[in-house]
Symmetry: C2
DNA sequence: CTAATATATGAACAGATATTCATATGAAAG
DNA sequence: CTTTCATATGAATATCTGTTCATATATTAG
């Protein structure tokens, strides 16, 4: 308010400076958005949640979620590319399971947020 | 393999049953996906991260991130609708800040995941 | 080898979404 | 009251994304 310099620049310079120092580089922020984008789809969230309990093969998942086998396959690929699930081949089946614990904690935090 | 019942149904019945018991209802999963969708955009992630450090007004944010004022406004509305940020009016300015701690922890987990 | 089953992949289409542009609202200054 | 500044909003557009359909690959059974 009394700071004529800020008035002149039309921005709150000090805040800008503080934030610039702490914010990660563009690439990290981009990757982060890409990661959350993967969680941002009902089908994929359902798949991940299903895998909370046990590993499942593609057909199991499609039955369980009432989603076509093709759609499940496509989404599993997205999940695998982003290292959220891993797979194991057994005969004609491919079993998918969660790749690491971050999936649990990220989804957990999400649940907490919406349950308010 | 030896379980003829499973063979007949083409699915692993027991797994399906276990998962069905633990999976949240469709609405919760849908809301969860909607929440993560909000995090799944570079501009919004940048805004959230900027607000980690301090509250900021719209013009500050648009300067800081090199995004048009209009785009920032639109995205802030999305963030506010989803209760990720709150706002405070001061004269001509509207200052935005993070709405709660889940934002920190969700993004924190995301960072951990991509840093591997 | 042939048929059947399980999964994957590519192209096409439909629906969603982020930005831009033009403009509206609202507050302070002159 | 008029102008300027800060923010918000609505419509239009271009891009992105998820599903479907058709088909390919791969494994096992007969």
């Amino acid at each position: 308010m009394m700071d004529s310099k800020n008035e002149f620049l039309h921005v709150h310079e000090e805040s800008i400076k503080k934030v610039s120092e702490n914010i990660p580089d563009d690439e990290t922020l981009y990757d982060l958005a890409e990661l959350f984008k993967v969680f941002g789809d009902s089908t994929r969230i359902k798949i991940l949640y299903a895998l909370f309990t046990t590993e499942l093969c593609v057909y199991d998942i499609s039955q369980l979620l009432n989603v076509s086998q093709t759609a499940v396959s496509h989404q599993l690929r997205v999940l695998k590319t982003n290292k959220l699930v891993k797979s194991r081949k057994e005969g004609k089946n491919v079993f998918y399971s969660l790749a690491d614990d971050h999936v649990y904690s990220i989804i957990g935090q999400g649940i907490e947020h919406i349950e308010e």
